[in-house]
Amino acid sequence: MRPEMTAASLEATARSSAERGALARARLLRGLLPALSLALVLLAIAWLNPRAISYFGFSLMLNLAIPIALATIAQMFVISGNELDLSIGTFVGFVGCVTATWLKDAPLIGVAILLGSIGVYALLGALIHLRNLPSIVVTLGMSFVWQGLAILVLPKPGGKAPDWLLAIMSFKPPFVPFPIIAALLIGLVVHFGLMRTSYGVILRGSGGNPAALKRAGWSLLRTKIVLFALAGLFGVLSGMALIGITTSADANIGNGYTLLSIAGVILGGGEFVGGRVSPIGAVIGALTLALAASPLLTFMHIPPDWQVAANGAILIIVLAARVLISRRER
């Protein structure tokens, strides 16, 4: 990967300025691709059902966008450290179960459990680094652990979201639907933290070139712990937001989020290795997936059988577009 990149950059300096202009345009296009794909999905919706493009329509279609966006951000932190979290979905489910039971009935214990679970995430980061373990397997094992705990906390679907959480999630601001404002806020906060602060650069660097960071005196153990703790934090937020919308919980409620979150990061322009991620892109990717998975597909003459396929098709189309653009980048 890296030698190719140096070769590419050497080539780039040798090129004429006109070619460089074209290259910059292709890069810009690539950066805009997540937004373009979202716009494309929106256009398709507007064309198929113009009435969906309204305050009410968006509130309905983007209903689940907030928890998906938060879970995607959680996954993004893990991916920026060159790891993968296959347990985020069941973790979101576990948090949901705790939110609908302990957090409502005994808030102090509930908060302690949730903080403890973030601590477990941090410990996992430490374990993966210290023993040099494959994160795929460790998080695979943890996905069973969270699911088991979720069933123990809430054996039958039920529970109830705390009132304050319901109030937050049913907030109706004027003009712009809440999911859009929340998504913007999440994207901007994480963008500032990860892309604009100096420790954010170190965190991304731990995925980009760990050896260089280590030689520069930074602790890779610490970056891994911080990345996993942040993933845990956003996983907790995602589970709470989800319960604020669904009002009650179920041990399996978050299971689909593992794959959705990975897809969201990649749709948003992230890459599996090299610390190349984009928080705003990830949020846009999550919005695209939320729209594609929304119940409104039913009204668009897409039979329920094929709604999952619509998700897959959107992923493939966006990635194909990215390849076309990348070819021009060279």
């Binding site: 795929i136 069973f144 969270w146 123990l152 990975i262 897809a263 999952v308 992923l315 493939i316 990635l319």
Partner: protein, 315 residues
């Protein structure tokens, strides 16, 4: 002594040892009751994990990022295809098996096509493909309640002296897979690609063809597995393959295959599959609740992988 030391150096020994410990713990609990029956049941169930596990092992050995996430959807669709083609008639068993095999192989080929044409990470390619396959399966298998032909159902449940015949056949298959991996050009090429894809390419390995073959193989094994599962559980089902996503990856890694690629282990897949199945049996025998069972399964997987440790090599 030398034997012990050379055995201890082999990563797959640990998975069998784990399976043995779990088995001993269970019969100690039951006071020896059902010891043999447990082995029979474990062998019958482990077969399904081993078949997809071997496919997944070849894929994972191709190197970091290579994993087949479409197996559960593949198994589900193939089980429906097999049942529909067999249509409950004994004379169509072979045709049905071939149809399931072809269906799986086609899915594998499409997976590689996506990876190659779109140059996307295999995780995302197989994931997107699995979404689409799932939809096809839901649409195709709707209300499908065809029972497997009696001959096929009997075959998948057939035992001789307490040993499932399917397990014996699968052992033969895994021996074949081990030979293919260690002694044939195909297997050596897979290992070479996993160790260093660029070096393999420079050494003249046809990287594209080997990767294509590997994904197709994984798909085909998923297809066969779907057909056999439908026979064993007497009917196809959209969700029949769901547990094999995690199980196929888990047996590969617990069995001593490197997630970083380039190092594979066939016997370990058997050991790990038996270990996982026996573990579930043990927890069921102890009478723990579903929650505790999942919790302990997860903790044991994390514990085993921590104890076995990762590779010291820099990635």
């Amino acid at each position: 002594m030398i034997l012990v030391r050379s055995l201890a150096g082999k990563p797959w020994v640990w998975s069998f040892l784990g399976a043995l410990v779990v088995w001993l713990a269970t019969i100690a609990f039951t006071g020896g009751y059902g010891a043999g029956g447990m082995v029979t049941a474990a062998l019958s169930l482990a077969v399904f994990t081993v078949i997809v596990g071997v496919g997944q092992m070849f894929v994972i050995t191709l190197g970091p990022g290579n994993v087949d996430l479409s197996l559960p959807a593949n198994i589900g669709l193939a089980s429906a295809v097999a049942m529909k083609v067999m249509a409950g008639s004994d004379s169509m068993i072979v045709v049905g098996l071939l149809a399931a095999l072809a269906c799986g192989a086609a899915i594998g080929a499409v997976n590689y096509l996506l990876i190659w044409a779109l140059r996307i990470p295999p995780i995302i390619a197989t994931l997107s493909a699995s979404f689409i396959i799932q939809s096809i399966d839901i649409s195709y298998g709707r209300g499908l309640q065809i029972k497997p032909p009696p001959g096929f159902a009997d075959f998948t449940n057939w035992q001789v002296l307490g040993i499932p015949v399917l397990a014996v056949l699968t052992v033969l298959f895994t021996i074949g897979a081990a030979i293919a991996l260690q002694r044939m050009i195909y297997g050596r090429s897979v290992l070479a690609i996993g160790q260093n894809i660029r070096a393999a390419w420079l050494a003249g390995v046809n990287v594209g063809r080997i990767r294509f073959l590997t994904y197709t193989l994984s798909g085909a094994l998923g297809g066969i597995d779907g057909a056999l599962l439908a026979g064993y559980f007497r009917g196809a089902n959209v969700d029949i393959g769901n547990e094999y996503l995690l199980a196929s990856i888990a047996v590969v890694v617990i069995g001593g295959t490197s997630v970083a690629g380039g190092k594979a282990n066939v016997p370990g897949v058997w050991g790990a599959a038996l270990f996982l199945v026996l573990l579930l049996t043990m927890l069921n025998t102890f009478g723990v609740s579903a929650g505790v069972r999942l919790l302990l399964t997860g903790l044991i997987i994390v514990g085993v992988i921590t104890a076995a440790g990762g590779e010291k090599a820099v990635r």
